[in-house]
């Protein structure tokens, strides 16, 4: 049967072979999801933005997505789990709208600037699971009007984040993604809301715990795999 190819790529970030014990669990699940939805899978392994914290490297998607000529781009943090039953959610999105799994109120963590004030929606990105079409590629537009220090200074971690492993420099990717949504006026709908709208409230297809140490995370991931009956 003839089908027009929709070009999708799933990106993730594992600079310099980051935590192979974790990616040995997560990448097969990403690859399985990619196969299921007819997407390519691409691991960002080399640094490009040497002045920025390493988490900023996910903004390479801005260039890679153009190079790969994608219709849709999905970025997943390398320490997230994707259940094999995760559906192809792109069917529920039009190209004018981007999304993340969830979002928070902006003022909890970030200082407003004129883009946030003007936008008014107060969307705080949880960009561990982020997607946008070629129309919304500015979601990953690398920051060109703040220095790394200025960006970090605008991030204030929550109490839990500060007391665990997530400090201001770990939040800049979320901050800058939030800022791009506001700056470029991107339409936005969370995947959680989309699932709910389609009869699947809290379906549990995704798992990500960013406030754990890698060692704790590895153990918890194994528990999740057991709960998902994959091992």
């Amino acid at each position: 049967m003839w089908e027009k190819k929709i070009k999708k790529t799933i990106y993730t970030l594992a600079i310099d072979n980051w935590r192979p014990e974790i990616t040995s669990i997560t990448f097969p699940l990403f690859k399985h999801f990619a196969k299921k939805i007819g997407a390519d899978f691409h691991v960002i392994t080399k640094r490009r933005f040497l002045d920025w914290p390493v988490t900023f490297e996910k903004y390479q998607v801005y260039y890679l997505a153009q190079e790969h000529e994608n219709d849709w781009n999905l970025f997943i943090d390398a320490d997230a789990l994707v259940h094999p039953e995760m559906p192809d959610f792109f069917q529920w999105y039009t190209k004018d709208t981007c999304g993340h799994n969830g979002s928070d109120p902006l003022g909890i963590r970030y200082r407003y600037d004129r883009f946030f004030f003007r936008d008014g929606r107060g969307i705080s990105s949880c960009n561990w699971f982020t997607f946008a079409s070629d129309w919304c590629i500015d979601l990953w537009h690398p920051c060109d009007d703040l220095t790394p220090e200025e960006a970090i200074a605008r991030c204030t971690p929550t109490v839990e984040e500060e007391q665990t492993v997530c400090h201001a420099e770990h939040l800049i990717d979320d901050f800058l993604c939030s800022r791009n949504i506001a700056k470029y006026g991107l339409k936005f709908r969370t995947l959680m809301q989309t699932f709910k709208d389609n009869g699947m409230e809290n379906p549990g297809f995704l798992w990500h715990q960013y406030t754990l140490t890698p060692e704790e995370k590895y153990k918890r991931m194994q528990e999740v795999l057991r709960a998902w009956r994959l091992v």
């Binding site: 097969p28 194994q222 091992v231």
Partner: protein, 306 residues
Amino acid sequence: MRSLVDMDTIQIEITNACPRLFLCSNCTRMGQHMEKPFFMEFDQFKEAVDSMVGYPRMVGMMGGEPLIHPQFEKFCEYMLSKIPRERLGLWTALPDGREEYASIICETFNYVFLNDHTRGDIYHHPFLVGINEIVPKKEEIFVHINRCEFQHSWSASINPNGAFFCEIAASLAMLYNRKGWPVYPGWWWKTPKDFTSQIEEFCPMCGGSVPLNRRCSVERIDDISPWHYEQLKDRSPKIKKGLYAVHDLKISQCPQQMAAYKDLDYRDKIAARYGMYLTITPDGFWEPHMGIKPPSLMSKFKEWYD
């Protein structure tokens, strides 16, 4: 406090004997402080099983090491004749020399809980440290006891001394020769209002409800509070061997995680010693099967996409 029907399991403890005698620290069964281990008689076991008919949750067979009970097979046969396999669980380390029980285990029990206590990253709570020696005010003691994490997550139990709302209370009863409730059909309908006499008798002498530093399970040393030490010093084989430390009665701000053995392969390796493998049940426990484990979906993904 949970009612007994709200627990996952009620245990029937058929022995407190264990091949790892003196090799563990802070064993919950406290058998190493008793001159002689107990082995439940068949009639007692029969009474215990009969009493559990109709219990809506899991009925566990536990030790010590239940596989070293000389009537293990007979016990399994009787248990399965009265209670459906879907509600039977076995707590064991699958000790060397009992491999012939593999098939009867798989036939009898829908769940097995394997922990061979050989890993240094498992921590055991010091139950032989009485909260009444640590917390001076009686009213505060019972605030702690009411929130006891073990009563909220572990099991009630039947042993030769009767039925108990808590498996640690059951161990203390064996250690100090105290009686539990009579074992009769439906005893497990008891709710916290019925626990008062057992709570008042056993919980103050137990450390379960208070945060205490835990000891690596393979350290061999038991932490014992001064009161327990006085009671046990002249009769405990473990104390006589010097394998104890008198507790400083200090509360811990950050007790170690009890069990850090949840990696994927640990239980599979233990099961493989008996030619068994485990699968996860829909309720998140482990079911035993004979044979070699088929590849998991995760391992298939790894193979497909590498």
